[in-house]
């Protein structure tokens, strides 16, 4: 029986629920559905409800498109659903939740790497 990826709407009242990514798309082309599912289920088992999407590959205008059904996300968060760290990061970047510390950490690390690369280039240039 094929279940729609938008969700079954069926769940057990006392189960632990979580908002997480489900990787769809195909080989070398990921596309994530942001879903509310029961935590113990496997990634590709039927979900309760899809509440958004995230395309990690930037488009022609160098944008990564994220859709969020904020009304339903707010409902499930109010009903005790948890979020995975990537979902928390996305919600933080969108302004719905505070910005996650992992975002600040990743940005800081990238800046350190970029500065180190610039510093390495300069002495090589000087020697030449």
């Amino acid at each position: 029986m094929l279940v729609p990826s938008s969700g079954t709407g069926q769940y057990a009242a006392l189960s632990a629920k979580i908002i997480r990514f489900v990787r769809h798309g195909c080989t070398n082309r990921p596309f994530f559905h942001i879903v509310v599912a029961e935590r113990r289920r496997e990634q590709f088992e039927p979900v309760i409800e899809q509440v958004g999407s995230y395309d990690p590959m930037p488009n022609e205008r160098n944008e990564k498109l994220v859709s969020l059904n904020l009304e339903r996300i707010a409902y499930w968060l109010g009903n005790g659903a948890d979020c995975t760290k990537p979902v928390q990061e996305l919600l933080g970047l969108s302004g719905f939740l505070p910005i996650h510390p992992l975002s600040y950490m990743a940005a800081w690390k990238n800046r350190q790497v970029a500065e180190a690369a610039v510093v390495e280039e300069k002495p090589e240039g000087d020697h030449k």
């Binding site: 930037p58 990564k64 969020l68 940005a107």
Partner: protein, 348 residues
Amino acid sequence: MSVFRHFSRKLVLNTFKSDIKLQINTHCSVCLRFLSYQPIHYDGKPDPGPVFIKKEVQTLLRTLTRVDLAKVFKKRRFGETQLQQPVYKFMTDEQLQEAYEEAKKKVDTFLQIPPVVAVRKPKDKVLSKDPALQGLDTSAFVFTDISYGVRDSERMILVRETDGTLREADWETRDRINQLYFPVAQRQIQTPKMFQDSNLEDLLKRGEYNFILDRACLQFDPNDPLYQKIVSITYQCVNDNNHFNELRSTRHFGSFVFFLAWNKLIDNLLLDIIESEHIEEAKALVELYSHIHQVKYESKENLQQIDEYIKNHASKKAALELAFQAYKNAAKRKGEVEEGIKRAHGLS
């Protein structure tokens, strides 16, 4: 040089349809560039919306549209597909009358005039600045709120830039994203190439006004500056070439006339109406002008109001006076002939 002039003149003359009267100055070299029109937007000073929505103005626009049921319900081709086989029925006179009444109700939906509103102002709201996020990613994130029951114009669409600024998306991004997640049928995500200047010129040269206006209505919102630009250029082209019949009995005639009246360009149209002796429409046009520019005519009689407009507000005074005088003479002669006929039949 003269050979070039001869051939280019022949080329231009042959590209036009035969029923259009064209005046080409034979002494100057023929200019093949037609798009010298400036786009005219509805600034918002004053706002055209409240004036356009008034019931009196809407009825005047409907009168001026000159509804011809045969043209409104004509057979249209949609590529190679035929929509429906025509159905033939036997009807009594009463049933035919009922069918006509129903058709007239359908005309209201066919002839919904595309709304006239002030042009939208650019969006530039910054919600949050987080320079600590600089370096997180090399591309921006576009967040769309896909909650149910929210209008496209009110939907929350935010952009998190690479330097960490969270701001509201600008209008072009909004249009694109709304079309992506909540598509309107036959509307393209990227602006169709036919609206670019060179292609638009070519279409206007060929006189494809309805095609341009129909697609512009479908593709854009009425407060989009690009929509107002395309539509204003098309209207100016129609006005200058006197191709009013192309737009009559379509939904576009209403907003076309409103545009002309708003920008004080009604003289060509008034001339066309008087010459074809549709005096009701001439009265309506002059009344529309008074509604829009708050002009009060001294006389209450409609023919005299037209006279007043021609004397005080028209730019093509001479031509209009001539045409109106000719109409009045013709009407007088007609009246005399009818009087004569009535007397001959012993009725008066």
